[in-house]
């Protein structure tokens, strides 16, 4: 039977319950929530005056009630050492989500650590060291001093290239400004680590170098633009499941026509209608079904391309739009360069594109007209361009990204209401680090270095390569072998004899072993290989700042204690830096030791003040006190001033060099911060006018980037790119396609956040998805003699993995869709190691074969195999 909690009533918070601002720490959307906490021995009542919500709970509440709390929104947690009751519920006053909660975010309370209700008991509570053949608890001092000593010894023997780092670089639970700053300061300022990579890709690179190099930062519009657009053009994204409340709260009103009044009011003097939407995706997704339900089939154009052929489509659209003259000439002249060269270089006929993409000529022409044909009276059509992993993790990332930006620039759709050319995002963002210029471009392919036996020590911060890398099978085998060599060495001498331990470890490293330290909130799969595990706090167990997909920055306030002795990552990094200082000083290397000064932070706010405030554009205006006062709405980065005093300077600047972040009121790509900043903090104009750090004045932000038509290039102009079609770009992909029957397309499920690091310990999700699923056409399943729920092996020359088969009539023959990054069946096992020229993985274009392993396992027998797709009544 379906999992049920059998909870038939919930406690009500009293009127004086403590209320804290929360931004959901899962996806890019960053929905606003409020955390209500109150003592165990108190409760409120159902009358409006008796409860913290101020809502009437006495009768049946209506739809969209601000008073209803689902059991998943309730828990009992520790706060300042005491058990308290907690409700974390969506905030109806947040402009991002207007009270909507998703299946992921609305479980924030339930996926909190609780010793009382037993939730998330897997969380790490103590530093652990490999001792006596198992991971054994120890003190922070003990664990950090071992890590520091082995790090120093490896760096002394191999140089800093012997230290390999994997670290998150995002926001929400995937980083946050405090934590990215601390790790960045450690590895990029105190050290100059080059062999570093990010959580879901094997190098330290941008997923959107293409757009940034054109001068267009990737998060350049605001969520309201989806309400204002005439047409939404989206490629390689399934927003209903991966930017859920952005889609529901900002796209749907436009598709339904309920944002028409807003359009007329904000954009008078031009005709308006409900939005049309074009979705480029080889798969029919639930997003497409929802768009059809809202806008009607006539207003939805699904361009169901052959996997990996987006670039040819974009170039044909660009060519068609240019040849019809549906371009924004004055914008092109004033704000861009290279248009004519791009038109010549990218020329692709609609017929050629139809052949490559598998689309009809008519549909491509229709798309061009929906994007760019002037509206009645000649008004420019407002089109919002959006993309995500289908492009980012798809064929020829760099050029495909650029080919899409070309179309947006040609039609004058960046920096304007109802426009934008944006990535939709996965995690929130929260990047504040010293310059990474020394990493170089292309950056080192770190996973290959590890496979090749390079490096002696690996610092892993909140990353689980075993679930979220490509070529994952080979990576795991090598990694286990190398780390095991060190474990055996550690087992060979008494655990309490530190000098003997370090000697044994170093000997194993010289023989090809790898020492690894894992900082995380839960035990991970790669963490099973670790020699030291350090327990971290997550969002809400610490104060944490991040920004969402429209650069909206908020502070999540600490509302509960971290489990056991866990600490915020920024303070772990600081204490590791101090341990490194000590070990180098003890070794008589004072000049090295001195580089690890400046970490005497007591709180995460100290890290924020040292990092974001001093180094990020507009950071001088931003304080915890002001963010707290701005609640779940915050402001949109970059900050340009304070209410009362206004923007400190009119106009914008793009800086003197590409990607340069200028202190003060500059406008550039939000996370397009590479290299991240000038050498000295607070240099330039705004340093002189540094605002007071006290006070709670509202911060003035930036609704859209490039609203002034100035882009992030030295000359202030965006540049068009020549991006020719060259087939399946990554080495060996075409051969893989020729050899294997099935496309193993892959992506996310609505139920699951990221790699299921918390969801795997949540009863509700684990009951629904004990194994990853692979959607297949029923006729294909019949040919392979598969029944729904049967366990299958997916295999090719790269490796093999498992999934349960889910029949879906909407999936095309010989194509499949597998849940990505799932703990009990890692799709990355069958993804080849081939990348693009900048080491961006190509997860999406994977081909393999499928065979039956067994009948449906017991854990899936109670599940439903009906279509996920919603169809309206009637």
């Amino acid at each position: 039977m379906a999992y049920k909690r059998n909870i038939d009533r919930l406690p009500i918070p009293p009127r004086d319950a403590r209320v804290n601002n929360v931004t959901c720490h899962f996806c890019i959307v960053g929905c606003g929530y409020k955390a209500y906490t109150w003592p165990m021995n108190r409760q409120g009542g159902p009358a409006p005056g008796e409860n913290a919500y101020g809502e009437d709970l006495r009768g049946q509440q209506g739809a969209d009630s601000a008073g209803w709390v689902a059991p998943s929104m309730y828990n009992v947690v520790k706060q300042d050492g005491r058990d308290v009751q907690i409700v974390i519920k969506p905030d109806h006053d947040c402009v991002v989500n207007s009270g909507l909660g998703s299946i992921r975010g609305a479980r924030m309370a339930e996926v909190s650590y609780s010793a009382v209700t037993g939730t998330q008991q897997a969380r790490l509570t103590d530093p652990l060291i490999w001792r006596y053949g198992t991971m054994s608890p120890t003190s922070w001092e003990d664990s950090l001093s071992l890590v520091a000593e082995v790090t120093r010894r490896v760096v002394e023997e191999q140089g800093e290239d012997g230290l390999i780092v994997s670290a998150y670089d995002h926001g929400g639970a995937g980083g946050g400004y405090e934590n990215t700053w601390a790790t960045g300061k450690l590895y990029f300022e105190s050290m100059k680590v080059k062999n570093i990579r990010i959580h879901n890709r094997p190098a330290y690179n941008s997923e959107v170098h293409g757009t940034r190099d054109m001068g267009v930062g990737e998060l350049n519009n605001c969520y309201e633009d989806a309400e204002l657009a005439d047409t939404i053009f989206v490629a390689g994204a399934n927003s209903l499941e991966t930017q859920t409340n952005y889609f529901l709260n900002h796209w749907v009103p436009n598709l339904r026509g309920t944002s028409l009044d807003k359009k007329k009011q904000e954009l008078p003097n031009e005709p308006h209608a409900a939005a049309r939407v074009i979705i480029v995706d080889p798969r029919r997704t639930v997003t497409i079904a929802a768009c059809e339900a809202e806008a009607g089939k006539d207003n939805v154009l699904h361009l169901q391309i052959n996997s990996g052929t987006d670039l040819a489509l974009f170039n044909a659209l660009f060519t068609e739009i240019a040849s019809r003259g549906w371009v924004d000439r004055s914008f092109i002249n004033a704000s861009t360069t290279g248009f004519d060269a791009a038109v010549a270089g990218n020329r692709t006929s609609v017929e050629d594109a139809a052949r490559i993409t598998g689309l009809s000529v008519a549909d491509i022409r229709k798309a061009a007209s929906w994007i760019a044909e002037p509206k009645q009276g000649g008004a420019r059509r407002r089109t919002m361009f959006a993309y995500e992993k289908g492009i980012i993790w798809g064929n020829d990332n760099y050029r495909t990204n650029q080919a899409m930006v070309n179309v947006a620039l040609a039609t004058g759709n960046i920096g304007r209401p109802g426009g934008g050319c944006v990535r939709l995002g996965g995690h929130q963002e929260g990047y504040a680090r010293p310059s990474d210029a020394h990493v170089g471009r292309p950056a080192a392919y770190v996973d290959q270095l590890l496979i090749q036996g390079k490096g002696g020590i690996h610092h892993v911060w909140g990353c689980d390569h075993f679930k979220t890398t490509l070529n994952a099978g080979e990576f795991k085998r090598t990694y286990q072998r190398r780390t095991n060599m060190v474990k055996e060495a550690m087992d060979s001498v008494p655990a309490g004899d530190r000098p003997a331990q370090v000697e044994a470890i170093m000997k194993a490293i010289r023989a090809g072993g790898l020492f690894t330290v894992n900082v995380d909130i839960v035990p991970t799969q790669i963490g099973s290989c670790a020699h030291v595990v350090l327990p971290a706090a997550t969002s809400g167990e610490m104060n944490l700042t991040s920004m969402n997909g429209e650069r909206r920055m908020r502070l999540t306030e600490r509302y509960m204690d971290p489990p056991g002795r866990a600490m915020p990552d920024c303070l772990i990094a600081a204490r590791l830096a101090q341990a490194l200082e000590r070990t180098w000083r003890a070794a008589g290397k004072a000049e090295v030791a001195d580089r690890f000064r400046g970490y005497d932070w007591q709180t995460e706010e100290d890290a924020f003040n040292d990092g974001y405030r001093k180094h990020e554009k507009g950071g001088e205006f931003v304080t915890y006190a002001r963010l707290r006062a701005m609640g779940t709405n915050g402001f949109q980065e970059p900050a340009v001033g304070l209410a009362g005093t206004g923007p400190v300077a009119a106009g914008t600047t793009t800086g003197a060099t590409p990607g340069m972040v200028v202190q003060g009121p500059a406008i550039e790509g939000a996370r397009g911060k590479e290299p991240v900043q000038q050498a000295g903090p607070n240099t330039g104009l705004s340093a002189a006018a540094a605002p007071p750090s006290g006070g709670t004045e509202p911060i003035i932000g930036t609704k859209r980037l490039y609203a002034d038509g100035k882009f992030n290039r030295p000359d202030g102009r965006a540049t068009f790119a020549v991006a020719e079609w060259r087939g399946l770009q990554a080495e060996g992909k075409q051969a893989e396609k020729d050899k294997h029957r099935f496309l193993i397309n892959n992506g996310r499920a609505n139920h699951v956040w990221q790699s299921a690091y918390l969801d795997q310990h949540n009863d509700f999700v684990r009951d629904r998805f004990p194994y990853p699923y692979i959607e297949m056409n029923p006729a294909d399943m019949q040919e392979l003699r598969l029944s729904p729920g049967d366990l299958v092996e997916v295999f090719n020359g790269n490796g093999a993995t498992q999934a349960v088969a889910w029949p879906e009539a909407q999936v095309r023959r010989n194509e499949t869709f597998m849940l990505f990054a799932y703990p009990t069946g890692v799709q990355g096992n069958v993804v080849s190691k081939a990348t693009n020229e900048l080491i961006i993985p190509n997860y999406k274009q994977t081909w393999g074969d499928i065979r039956k392993i067994s009948d449906a396992p017991a854990a899936v027998r109670h599940l439903s195999w009906k279509t996920q797709e919603y169809r309206p009544a009637g």
Binding site: D8, Q43, R58, W68, A106, V286, D763, Q868
Partner: protein, 175 residues
């Protein structure tokens, strides 16, 4: 997945439910110190009414019947699915009943006879009536509240409880 111990899991679910209730119970005592000594102690569980929904003769296979339970403000559906399902009652083991308020944001759902699911026009959630209200796809953080049924000797179908919190209520039975 690691740590997946069925016995421990069952215990945990039970405990979570009990934890929530124990908290409410404790609070009720603390909040009313001046209550008369003879007052009946608060019960640990919600007491559900027993309510006749229909007679088995009223049901036709795959034709939904609108009902309300535990009170008139809580709409639901009574179904004779036509095939035996886990948790089904009646001579054919195919009678089930569910709340029809979507446990996401409370929009009223409609029944699809072609695949025996409840579907929400609010934000497209879908629940499988043949699988105990399992959310096939959707935004709710729980599967659909199903009513506990019993069929009397005369064919009367009685509702006697609910297995999840119904949308829009802090307590399935309102005071």
């Amino acid at each position: 997945m690691s740590g997946c111990n069925k016995v421990a899991e069952a215990g945990r679910r039970f405990f979570l439910g009990r934890g929530a209730l124990a908290a409410a119970g404790a609070a009720a005592v603390a909040a009313a110190p001046a209550a008369p000594a003879k007052a009946a102690p608060a019960l640990a569980q919600v007491t559900y009414p027993r309510a006749k929904l229909a007679n088995i003769r009223d049901l036709k296979p795959n034709e939904p019947l609108d009902i309300a339970y535990p009170d008139a403000d809580s709409p639901g559906v009574l179904l004779k699915l036509g095939t035996r399902v886990e948790g089904g009652v009646g001579p054919d083991g195919d009678v089930v009943a569910y709340s029809t308020l979507c446990p996401h944001k409370g929009y009223p759902m409609f029944y699809r006879t072609d695949d025996r699911t409840l579907n929400c026009p609010g934000h497209y959630s879908r629940f499988d009536c043949e699988k105990g209200g399992l959310q096939v796809w959707g935004h709710a953080t729980q599967n659909l509240a199903q009513y506990r049924l019993r069929v009397d000797g005369n064919g009367d179908i009685q509702a006697e409880g609910v297995d999840e919190l119904i949308y829009g209520r802090h307590s399935n039975v309102l005071g």
